[in-house]
């Protein structure tokens, strides 16, 4: 499609967002990811019927955890689009990157850098 896309996004493919677990999102944040996007099919069009709806609930749960930790819940978000929407995918990547950039680096990454600097 030759659409421009930010290069700072690590894409992890899953057969359905229903496969994404709370632990996956948390581990990404624990290892220093500044933000996590869960991108699933349009609601009502999940090939596996409810996978994307379950993913939304799990993303909501992670947002609650982040709130209780005093970390911006906007770092993690769920987006819905069809696999055919290449342009929209690039838009989402740009949107999410901008949003997370405004929030600054993840507090976990800052801490890791502090520890490695003090070594």
């Amino acid at each position: 499609m030759r659409v421009e896309c930010p290069t700072n996004v690590k894409i992890v493919e899953v057969p359905c967002t229903g496969r994404v677990d709370i632990l996956h999102i948390l581990k990404a944040l624990e290892k220093g990811a500044d933000g996590v996007c869960v991108i699933g099919c349009l609601e009502g069009e999940c090939h596996f019927l409810e996978g994307n709806l379950r993913a939304r609930k799990r993303v909501g749960y992670v947002k609650d955890i982040l709130k209780s930790l005093g970390i911006e819940e906007e770092r993690v978000d769920m987006y819905n689009l069809s696999a055919a929407m290449g342009q929209r995918f690039a838009e989402i990547m740009a949107e999410a990157t901008e949003k997370v950039k405004k929030l600054g680096p993840s507090p976990v990454r800052r801490a890791d850098e502090r520890f490695s600097n003090s070594d």
Partner: protein
């Protein structure tokens, strides 16, 4: 099953403040079924605590290990290696398991990661409701299989009370009246005459602790029992 609920993160963080290495100990039986303390929940809690510690600039290592049950010595033994250099252990088992862990490792700071709430049934996905009060004197045979001790707010033996309106308990519109449920089921079974019986007071001393059951037929064979000759010598 025993139903428990994980404690809030802030409460858990406060308990482990100042600890350098903490283990999150999961249990894969009851607390796994109510998604409070199984292997997945232990891993999630370990990750959350790690994120929180890093954010606070604390040097705190969190590890996790889950065993099948924390209410059996053989399973509790499996923690031995990993628990050795931990300053504290957050157990996600029910109160029984937490105490088992504390008794097996008396020199370790064992902390409760969950609040053990009640004995209940998973009525639907994500919903657990209290069913048994462990009163020690089961009368389910005369209440159509519905427990009035656990499910009636007043634990009435001869309900319903005047607060039963439209099949609901006066404490909340979400709570069905247990005696209404009992009546309905007895009617379905054509056994309404059971409702006319006056149920006499229970032996409530059986429902409070500390309770204990001993079965001599199941106890370990003693050395005296093994060698009858030693009995004669003694």
């Amino acid at each position: 099953m025993i139903v428990a609920e994980q404690k809030p993160i802030e409460e858990i963080r406060e308990m482990i403040a100042g600890c350098k290495k903490v283990m999150v100990a999961g249990c894969n039986t009851c607390v796994a079924i109510c998604f409070a303390g199984g292997e997945k929940e232990a891993q999630i809690l370990a990750s959350v605590l790690t994120i929180a510690a890093k954010k606070a600039g604390e040097n705190q290592e969190i590890i996790d290990q889950t065993v099948q049950r924390q209410c059996e010595w053989e399973f509790l033994d499996q923690f031995k290696e990993n628990i050795a250099d931990c300053d504290a252990v957050i157990s996600l088992a029910c109160g029984i398991g937490i105490q088992g862990l504390a008794e097996r490792y008396p020199n370790k700071k064992v902390l409760p990661g969950v609040n053990t709430t009640f004995l209940g049934f998973p009525v639907e996905a994500g919903v657990w409701a209290e069913r048994c009060a462990a009163c020690g004197e089961c009368i389910l045979g005369i209440t159509a299989g519905i427990c009035p001790i656990a499910r009636c707010a007043k634990s009435l033996l001869n309900g319903p009370c005047g607060g039963s309106q439209g099949g609901r308990c006066e404490i909340s519109a979400d709570t069905p009246c247990a005696w209404q449920l009992i009546y309905d089921r007895l009617k379905e079974q054509g056994m309404l005459e059971v409702m006319e019986r006056i149920n006499t007071p229970k032996l409530w001393s059986k429902s409070s602790g500390p309770r204990k059951i001993e079965r001599d037929d199941l106890k370990a064979v003693t050395s005296e029992e093994k060698s009858p000759e030693s009995k004669d010598k003694g």
